[in-house]
């Protein structure tokens, strides 16, 4: 989903783009790719991928398949596949991941957990259940 320049390759394919002028409050659960450039308070889940832009502020627990972070997250993060932290990423919370890359300058204030295959499935199921509700 992400290219080397930390941008979404298929930006046009994003189901949801939350621009810098938008503030989201509540439980934001989507099905497609999500781009967050604005602010969000609550929870953020998708069964696809999430891109958090440089100026974005997310105060929420975040769950996704792939997650690219360049902004700030205050909350726990669960990523089924690949987590990429850009140089401006700041995460305050625990992180569960399968694979991860981190650029110089990124900061994490929390614990890191590598997730097992069983946990991967449970993440996928919990997202599906939320979407079906």
């Amino acid at each position: 989903m992400f290219n080397r320049e930390n941008k979404i390759e298929k930006f046009k394919d994003a189901e949801t783009i939350i621009g810098a002028s938008i503030k989201v409050k509540g439980n934001f659960h989507g099905q497609g790719n999500i781009v967050i450039e604005g602010s969000l308070e609550g929870s953020l889940k998708t069964d696809a991928n999430i891109f958090i832009g440089e100026k974005a502020k997310v105060v929420a627990n975040v769950e996704a398949q792939d997650l690219m972070v360049n902004g700030e997250i205050k909350g726990n993060v669960k990523v089924k596949n690949y987590l990429s932290l850009g140089s401006t990423a700041k995460i305050s919370g625990d992180i569960a991941y399968s694979e991860m890359s981190m650029e110089k300058g990124a900061t994490i204030n929390g614990q890191l957990f590598a997730i097992s295959e069983t946990e991967k499935k449970s993440i996928k199921n919990s997202v599906k259940e939320d979407l079906e509700k």
């Binding site: 046009k12 994003a14 189901e15 949801t16 783009i17 939350i18 621009g19 810098a20 002028s21 938008i22 503030k23 989201v24 409050k25 509540g26 439980n27 934001f28 659960h29 450039e37 604005g38 609550g42």
Partner: protein
Amino acid sequence: MHVYIYDDYLNKTRYNKAINRMEIRLTDLGLNGKIIRLSGIKNIKSAIQNEMRLGAKTIVAVGNNQTVNRIMGAIIEADIYSDFQKNTLLGIIPIGNDNSIATSFGIKNEEDACNILLARRIERIDLGLIGDYYFLNEVEVESRGTVINLKDYSLEIKDKGFIKIINLINDKNNPINSNPHDGKLDVYVVTKKNTQSLMRLDKFEVVSEHPIIVDGVIEVKSPVTISVAKNKLNVIVGKNRCFQ
């Protein structure tokens, strides 16, 4: 049988030439039908319902966006519409200004519209529903201070700009590839700080202190619920329509 419904404003002499061209073309193509002029009718719904009872298969709105919206509302709110849903079609012959709906359907002018009626290319499309009012194209509202409420979350827009809630685009160059078959409305926000947002939603409430304008002609009061009526209307479209 075709029923042609002419809007009031077409009585003005400046539209005579266009009306004549259209009527000649319809005659040439063998598409003549009954003509109803809205200026002489108080209750458009009952008039259209009567025509549907009498077997009208195609109702053609002759006029602009406002004409189409009035006639479309009358067709789908008619009690008998559900019985005849598969048969009753809406056609459009655009005359004058404010014809973005015809543009969406790939109809350029009145003569082109006649050819499209003859070709009879039919699409069954979603409609937007704002309050009790159906719309084809889009709803627009100033973005600053407007809040969109959904079941589980809300969206608040901080900066000046506009919000477009799109069912059907009227410009092929529009970056939003809106599709009136997907059961969703595209909520597109562009601010003066040049930030863009896009969400695909099916039901939500809009709260705003600014006017909420439907298809460029009608103002609706806030707060209002907006949703999608899926596969609600059969329309005759041109091959150059703005959607697939």
